[in-house]
Symmetry: C2
DNA sequence: CTGAAAGCGCTTACAG
DNA sequence: CTGAAAGCGCTTACAG
């Protein structure tokens, strides 16, 4: 009998409420209430219990309390990839705030693959997370898994790459940011401004294309479809686009690129062709990626305020968790900030 | 009574084993066994149960099974910051593999703050994670929280920034990598090679300093403490170090920098001083950061194989989780890969 | 102010 | 092959 007790004692590697209760000759209920500062427990009992909890190195089992309370204090964050400064930075914004509000963050990376995105959502549902923050994978066009989340009344917020659904989200103002960038190139005196886009079925890149188009229109510059190259978010497509645009009968003298890797590709191709930026050719990017500050010439770009974006996404989610009745129309638009560096400053040369 | 039932039905937003059991007039035990393909359940029952589970959109409550089984299938990953390509990339390596092995990843970022590091560990303990992968914050010198983890028999693996404890870990071979880089600069014909270090109390940067020192010795070049500047992992310290080194009576003609931001600072300062790299001055970094490929001249550096590092860390943890009896001596050393670019190729000019 | 009891949703040893 | 029962570690409505 003694041996049996010992084995049991050895087997469980953590102290429970009942262990404390037994030690103090009270019930687990009282211990529980004392530790959570229940108003009806006497100050004396509280101090005795807290002392014992500390002495026995008690750490509450959140799994058990989650099961009982129905709240896990965990949120799920679904991202296309962690190998990317953008998402890392958003994660930073989310986790910091989440942690302050008592939430832990379960992360799921889907490698830009639809199947892993679905798997991530299922994992989150299984883990009974209190809410989900997600950004779509590159190829996602089927939203059933997200509708499943809604059906289960799990609060859900999208950021950056958002689906065409009535679900709260945080996005960057790509339209106005791109309008601003294009206008800036015009103001600098560049005459023919081209655009290398990202995949246009993704909302973010479509917005940027539209902003470019609108800026031309606002300046009475005719839009020429020849001046738009459809890229795929890569250095290579920036280079390829530049080659094709330079081969036009009337080549451009500036390019607004949908994001910074593309802009970097433009820069590299111009060097190969011995065209000097910014005096002969203007470049403007979008994202303010890690490297953009350190190229030669340094890249003018729009900062996406990624940390702010993460924070806003969490705030929105938290609000929905707390108030329950979300307004599906909630759409937070983060303003991108222009970062003017060398690549677009013709007048400075 | 009917109304009450309805309210209850509405209130719980997910289907349980008992719901399925009631529907099929069997017990939850049978349903549980059928769904987990227990050998003693008849094929017929299994198919009936599985059909019903699918029809009712049943998703097992992992919280409940965790409480019962004592296994959460969650691992905790503690990182100094997510706003950094290095850790993002390691996370990528960890989560991918973890997901394949049925684990979810709880992430905790401590912003390089000791208190948040402790808080993260406590959160992980509370969440009863099956294991922890961690990298130390910049200022951590007190390891009580990790000893607490060991005391509770929670499998623990460190990566990159590891404490001076007998705990399994995955580290980069900074010594040999730095030896290699220094030797390369010597081979390129640079005569006086300086070093701008990171904080030397952190194991990783200390190793790199030692590798530099050893390479000099192996080539019968006397070590001069004047040629070592103590930096703090930043562009600014790269610039400041370069200024001070150039001001020496006998300035160096090459710098091996402890990491790429520092190397970038070197590059920037050389440009200011109108010293041409690589023909007049060699630069070698460490990390292969995002931007290193895109500077002018591009930076020679050591690739840390970050994804591999994350994968190895998970593999090691998983092995400890499965086999229980870890050998505390387990220390996996990842070989860094030289990435020779322009900044160190004197002979090419 | 504290206790006894029920229950969150699973899993599994014990019966039959 | 399936059921009845106990229990994982909490929390809380109900008593007293």
């Amino acid at each position: 009998m003694l041996i049996l007790t010992k084995i049991i004692t050895l087997k469980k590697n953590s102290v429970t409420l009942s262990d404390i209760a037994r030690e103090l000759h009270m019930t687990a209920a009282t211990v529980s209430r004392a530790l959570s500062d229940h108003p009806e427990i006497s100050a004396k009992t509280k101090s005795i219990v807290k002392e014992a909890a500390q002495r026995l190195d008690y750490k509450p089992n959140r799994i058990a309390s989650s099961l009982r309370s129905g709240k896990t204090n965990v949120i799920g964050v679904l991202i296309p990839t962690a190998e990317n400064a953008f998402f890392g930075s958003v994660i930073h914004g989310i986790t910091n705030l989440a942690s302050k509000h008592g939430y832990s963050v379960l992360i799921h990376e889907c490698d830009e693959l639809f199947e892993l995105e679905v798997k991530g959502i299922q994992t989150f549902i299984g883990a009974r997370v209190d809410g989900i923050i997600a950004s779509l994978s590159r190829n996602t066009v089927d939203y059933d898994h997200f509708l499943d989340v809604k059906r289960r009344n799990i609060p859900l917020v999208f950021f950056d790459r958002v689906p065409d659904l009535d679900i709260p989200s945080v996005v960057i103002d790509g339209f106005n940011g791109s309008f601003w960038a294009t206008q800036h190139l015009i103001d600098q005196g560049y005459k023919r401004i081209a655009h290398i886009s990202g995949p246009l079925f993704i909302n973010t890149f479509n917005d940027r294309f539209k902003g470019y188009e609108a800026a031309l229109k606002a300046n009475n510059i005719p839009f020429e479809s020849d001046l738009v190259f459809n890229g795929n978010i890569s250095i290579e497509s920036g280079m390829e686009g530049t080659r094709q645009l330079l081969a036009l009968a009337q080549p451009p003298d500036a390019i607004f690129a949908a994001e910074d890797f593309t802009a970097l590709g433009v820069l590299k191709q111009l060097k190969i062709n011995n065209i000097k930026a910014p005096d002969q050719f203007g470049i403007f990017g979008f994202c303010n990626d890690m490297f953009s500050e350190h190229t030669t010439p340094s890249l003018s770009t729009m900062d996406q305020q990624t940390v702010l974006m993460g924070q806003e996404a969490f705030k929105l989610l938290n609000q929905i968790i707390e108030n329950g009745n979300e307004k599906t129309s909630d759409k937070i638009v983060v303003k991108p900030l222009p970062v003017i560096r060398e690549s677009s400053l013709k007048t400075m040369q």
